[in-house]
Structures are given as structure tokens and as C-alpha cells.
Amino acid sequence: MNETSTSVETDAPNSKDDPTAPRGSIATAPSTGPASDRADLRPENINDAVIRLAGDSQDGIQSAGAFLARLAGRSAQDVMTYMTIPATISGGPSIFQVRMGTGEVLSAGDEADFLVAFYQHSYQDHIGCLKEGGVLLYDSDNVAPDLDDKRFVYVGVPITGLTVEALGGTAKDKGKNIFILGLIAKIFHLDVDKLKALITEKFAGKDESIVNTALMAFQAGYGYPVGNVLTKQYRFEPHVPKEGERAQITMDGNQALAYGLIAAGVRFGAGYPITPWSSVMEILRSELPKYGGLFVQAEDELGAVSLALGFSFSGYLAVTGSAGPGISLKTEAIGWASMSEMPLIIINVQRGGPSTGLPTNVEQSDLFQAIFGGHGDSPRVVLAASTVEDCFYIAIEAARIARKYSTPVFILSDTSLATRIEAFDEPELKDLMIDPTLDLTPRPVGFKPYAVDQITQHVPPGARMLDGKYPLVSGLEHDEMGHPTGSPKLHMAMTAKRRNKLRQLAEEIPVPEIYGDQDGGTLLVGWGSTYGPIHDAVKLARENGEKAGALHLRHVHPLPNGLEKIFARFKRIVVVEMNDQGIYGFGQLATILRARFCEPKIESATKTDGLTFRVKEILERVFEGRSFAARKIPREGLAIVHTGTAPENVKSLKEVVPQGVG
């Protein structure tokens, strides 16, 4: 929590040093009144708070977290969430972390300011992520914390009992999530009317009693005098709207991909379910018909990519997608798309691999597969989304490239983007929407789809060829009309043609801007969902006197031209990515950059614990030995060090290894 302005009573007690602070006190009896009425509390304006909700998946903590995220979006606050996909089909430990801020929020936050623990295991597994001086809000019906640990402020509320009481027993303890939402709303002085509106919207269309029950639970939580035990009064700095500021919309990365595709005029697609890709296809299946299009659930991933290629062949650029295992299956058909030069968008929402791997964790280990997967020289384009907002825009960029260059285009996303919610400026849709109308005008005499000296453009069937000669689309090496050839000369010419169009693309890709220092010190290079933590790490390093910059690549293949000039300006270049260092000691992007630029300065910082990078972790790796990077923070799940398999490093393996999701 960044404390900005501490107005009025500056001599108010600090919970850490003041022995009179109600440390470890448990508020069980309602007393004087709501928190805001307490005159003795120090109003504390904050611009950033990390709240972690830890419980079991059936407790609905995701939806409570999502309400907070959407509220932040509506209040024009920046927000980012982080969640773990429930490891089991129903039940099992699960968390949802919301970071809200009045300034720019880049990552979901290393440590929580506020931990809400539903159960003893939630407390035990997550207390390590609570900041010193942070607040543990726990269900005193289920949790008995170690009150002797004086680092934290303890607030116990009989959440289960009070929820059951408030809802009259019929709902059992369902509704605890909304009760807690009420508590949090009170503590942080959130906009109650907006929250109630969100709750009502969420349950609209359902039984009216459901809305009422939810509002009752909310009211019960909000009315609870939790403020009695808190020593501070938290209030977000009000957001001052800038001129021309756009409204914020709140969604997760998979939604952003799906709606980006729709904006880009993609109306057809096919897929097969797999975590964490499924929700993209679920959204498209119900959304595309509204636009006159169609998304088909295929019998398997090869069927899906083949259907998508059929859609593209018929003239409508199509999408298919999956996670690692399904992408592996699609590989042969993607090679055909490369050879036949058929536009196609392939989304890979990466998870931990290989094989079924870590289905609910995050990893960036499919970069090589995206660039090189498949036999033969089969050029394709690979883009990587860096944030939820970028998921939206990268879908549009992928469609543009696929159409212009008649090529398969990969979009790499990952579990963390797929499952987190962010608020971002509402896109200017009217400038972005593409109308996918077919051009069925007759084609002139001499039309050749595969003209050696031009970029291939296919013609949708149904367009007459005025010379009566119709082109074929082929996976065999072919001549300019698509007919097979074994000519060595033609194979050379066509191979070059397919490669050269990507060189042409590389020329038009903008060189990414560098964040932070433009030269001299250390350049952190990243791709994909590590954008936030890398940028936060650079920010922190610079605040501590380091010279550092961040370069984040969206166009991973082909790479933009001109990177060598940037690399030359820095003393050190460290590529930060969530995959293995491989037998030669370099991660996947690092390997490619070293091969491409023959730049021995390029170092590699990788990890394979299946969890998103924390800012501190990056600092530790990149600025080893510097004091600001020294502090190690324990964390739930796998340990950050992955040099050994000491039992303490894998003690919480249960939490990250899924049972039932595949």
C-alpha cells in the first residue's frame, strides 16, 4: 500500500510501534458504530492496495474479486487481478488477488496489504505473502491465527456465522463472498452504490430473491463494525479525470482476445476445449452468431484447425486456438497454412508443459513451438500479448497481418493473462471495426494467386475468373496457379517468396519504445505477460539508483528491425522469461535473440515454478548482490529457487498440481 498523504492527525499511533494498538484483538462484539464514525482513526489516503482473498474455489472468491475489479474500473482506478485456477473440478484452495490503484498499476503486486483468510489452510498458506504491518482479516469461525506473530494486524470476524444469520440459514454459508465484499467496502470506503449496482447487474435476469439475498449479505458485511480494531482509515485518493478521458472497461485476457477478434472482423472459428483456452471459444460460440458468424466445436484440434482453414479458404479469415497439447495436434495443418499461404489466426493460451504438464499454471515455454513447430521451412508470424488490454489490440494486429500477408499468425497468451481482470480505456470501436465482406468481383485475365514476385492473395470461391482458369490451393510445392511442381527452381523461388514476405513485414513493424533509461545500464527484455513485473522491476531499480530500461516485444517473429542498435547502447541485456534455461543455459527468447544478433551480452533469467514473476524475483535475478534486490520473500507454492528439489521447496506442491483439470 503506498501511503500518499497523511492529513490531519499525524501523531496517530502506528500499529507496529505502539503497544496500545489493538494488535491481535479480535472483534467479535459489535460496538459503537461504523468505521467512518471513529474520530480517533487516522484517515489515510492510499493510492494503491493489494487485497488477497484466500479460500476454496466454491466460496465464490473469484466473483467477489471480480466485483472489486469492476468497481475499480468504474471508478476510473487502475486495477489488476491475479488468480489461481481452482486445482480441482469443484473445491480446492483458490485465491484471487486484486490490486487497485489511483496511479498506473502494472503488476498484481508481490505482497498483499490485506489478506482475507476463509480457512486455516488459507491462513497458513498465504500469511507469508502479507506485508509486514498488513492486515489479516479472517473468519474467526474457521481460523485461529498465531496472534503472537506481531508483524500483522489481526481482525477476526465470525464470517460464516454472521452470513448464515444474515441470510436466515437457508443459503448455508453461501454468500460469505458477498459478506466479505461488504466488509472490504466499509474498510476502504468504496462506493457502495456502485457496488450494489454491480451486484444487481450481475444477478439480473435471475430469480429476484437471489439479488435480494446477495444485497442482504452485502449489507450485513457492510454494517459490521470492523473499524473498531483497525488503526487506520483507508480511503483511495480520488481519481481526477483528465480531459478527454475515456471510460474504463473491465475484462479478462480471454475476453479481450475474443472481442478483439470480433472488432477485427473475424466471424468464423473452430476449437476444442482445453484449459486455459476454453473461455475464448465459449465466448466466440455465443457471440459470433450475433454478428452473422459461427464458431464450431470440433471433434479434436486437428478437426478444429481444418475447419478454420475451410472458413479461411471460403474467404473469411478464421481463428482456431488451444493450449500446448492442442497446438501440438494442429501442427500439421498449420504447416499446410504456411505452404498454401492461407490466412489463419492461431491462439495459444500457454500453460505449463510439456505434455499435459501443469494445466492450471503459467509458463512461456511454447515460443519455440510457435516459431518453429512443424516440418520443413514453414514461415509464420508470432505475436505475444503483454497485458489484458493488449490482448484486445493484438487480435486486431494479428488479423491485419494475416490478411495482408496471407499467412498463419500465432497469438501467444498465457494462463495469467487469461485469468486476470484488468481495467483499460474503452477502445474507440468505430475506428477499429473491420467489415469482413467478401470481394466476389470477377478477376481479370491472367490472375495467379501465387505470383512469384508478389504477396499471395487468394480469391474466395464464387468469384468468376474471366479467363476461365481457376486457381488451386495446395500443400504440395506448387506453381503460380497452385498446381504441383517438382521443379527445384520453383521450390527455391516459392520458399524464398514465403520467407521474403515476412522480411517485408519486419520492415513495417515499429521498433518498440524503451521504458526507463535509454542507454548505459541494464536492458531488461521481455515478451508476453511478464510486462507488468518487468516494468515494475525497472521502476524500482531506477528508484534505487540503477540505470535500467525495459524493452518488451509484441512482434516476436519476425522481430522488428533495428533492435541491434538498441542492444548496442546498453551495458547488459537480460532476457526475462518464464521457461527453462535449456541445455545451453538460455531461455527461448534469449536463444533466438542471441542467434539473430550474435550478441554475447545477452543474458537469460528464467524460471519454471509455474507462477507469475514477482517484481522482487526479477530484481534478485537481474541485480544480484545489490542491497535493494536482496530481500527474499517467502511465497505460497513452489519456492523461487529452482536449483534443487529439497522437500521444503516443494512442500505446497499440492496447491499447484491440479487434480481434475486437463
Binding site: G293, Y470, P484
Partner: protein
Amino acid sequence: MSTENTPTNGSTTATALAESPREKLTKKAITADHPTWCPGCGDFAVLASYYKVIEKRQLDHEKIVTLAGIGCSSRFPYFVNGYGAHFIHGRAVPLASGISLARPDLHVFLFGGDGDGFSIGGNHLNHGARKNVNLTYFIMDNFVYGLTKKQTSPTSPIGFKSKTDPTGAIDQPVNPMKQLISAGASFVARTHATQVNHMIQMIERAMDHQGFSVIECLSECVEFFPGAFDPANPRKGGAFSLIDEKKYDNTPEDELRHDVTDELAAYKLAQLPFPGVFGVFYESDRPTKNALEKKWIDTTREKLGNPTDLQLLQKTFDRMK
């Protein structure tokens, strides 16, 4: 996508085209590369029948789409001057399904072999049939892998000596008719490459059928399984036994004739020992996936008041604020 161009309503053709003069579609106009098949290969007759049907029915040249997977038989699209695609081994059913679903204005024809259809593509075949996608699939069954030079195929009879079964095939072969009927294909027929008139009849009926129509054609591989289909070739001393379909003429004989809508009766015909019978085994007018999806699209759009794409997406985003 504006409503005028809703891909599933079949009105994508530019109106200007309707007015431009059209020459009669001749065999010459639809002929492309000279086939690379071995002289005497049964597949030549299939190609000739396809030309004949197109010529006879005078389909719009630009709306014919000829597709295939991989195999000798799957070289087919190269020999036809028309839109087409030569895809990968076994996956042409979903490719063709995509084209059919997006473009109801096109005639989607798919050609392939027994290995392509029943082995590597077996699952796609089952699901294409189950979903009843509107297309015509012609399987040139030669009981062997031709292109890869004589390995056992899923329809090779037990005892067939191939390079992968030098002492004779031991695995139970697929019964194409049984498989197609049980998978849910809504038009299932069988023909023989030496019986060109019958073949043309079958293609025409398959084409006119709304739904997933499949024809299995015994098409001899003279190179690797010569004489395989002589038992059904009258010129080689065999018998080409036709299915006697019901005429609904209220005669007592009609009672005994085959009712193509009777799935169990079709299954019984499929049980007959090799070379079996030829003609239409099964036909049903189950709704196609094309029609069902279109219905969903139309009702969805109607409920929403046929908004523009921009209005729709804007509304969705407004809900996310």
C-alpha cells in the same frame, strides 16, 4: 458483417455477376492437368463421371469447389479446373465442413481414398456424418494404400498380402456402409467404377441430398490390387447386384423392396457378403448443421433487432464498464 452479407444466407454473390453472360460449361472448360494415375486405374472413371455431372447440371463454374486429402485418389482437384484445395492426409472432411458452413452458395465436393477416409480421417468422418454437414463425399475405395505403394488399408480383406502384411492381412476390415450408417451420414450409397451410369446417378442423388452424403465407390488399383472388384463386374464374370428400392406403387412386390429410410434394413444390406449390393442404402432428411446453425444465427440476430456490428460490440462494452 452487414446483414446483406451474412455468410450463411447464401447471398454473397456480387449481383453484377448475375448479368454477365455465361458460356455453356463444357467438359473442356472444367478439365485441368492430365491425371497422373496409372493407366487403367479405376479413378479415371470417377473423374469422367464428375465431369459428366457438372456438364449435365450446368453448375456455375465459380461455385464448384473440389477438395481432397492425400492419396492417389486425392490428387483429384488438380485434374479439375475449378476452385479447389489439396489438403493434408485424412483431414479434408473438416476443411470441407468449414467451407460448406460459411458458404452455402457453393457446391462442395470432396474426394479421397479408403485410408484417407476410414483410417487417418476416421474420426472426422464420423463427426462430419453425425453433424450432418451439407456436402458430398466420394470415397474411392481400392482396398489398399495406392500412393504409398501397397500397404494394408482399413478396408483390405483378411488374407490380403501387402508390404505390411506379407503373410496376409489379419485385422478385421471396416465395413464402410455399416460405419457410415451408424455414424449418422444422412445419405449412404455404394457404386463401382466400371459402372459409369450408376456412378453418375449416385453422384447426382448425393448432390441433391441436403446433408452429409457419402458414396463408396469400388475403384480398382490396377497396380497393387488388380482384380479386387471383378466379383462385382459383369464383364469379368461377376454380378453387379442393384438394390431394389421401393417404388411406393402399392404392388405386393413393393413390400419386399428396400426402404431407404429404414436404417435397420440398410444395415442388413450392408451385412451381405462381398461383393454385396450397390445403390442407395440409406437416406434421411434429418436437418443439416448448416440449417440448424443458420436458424440459431437468424433468431439470435432477430431477437437483438438486427443491429450493426458496431452497435453490438459497443453494447457489450457498455456492459463491461
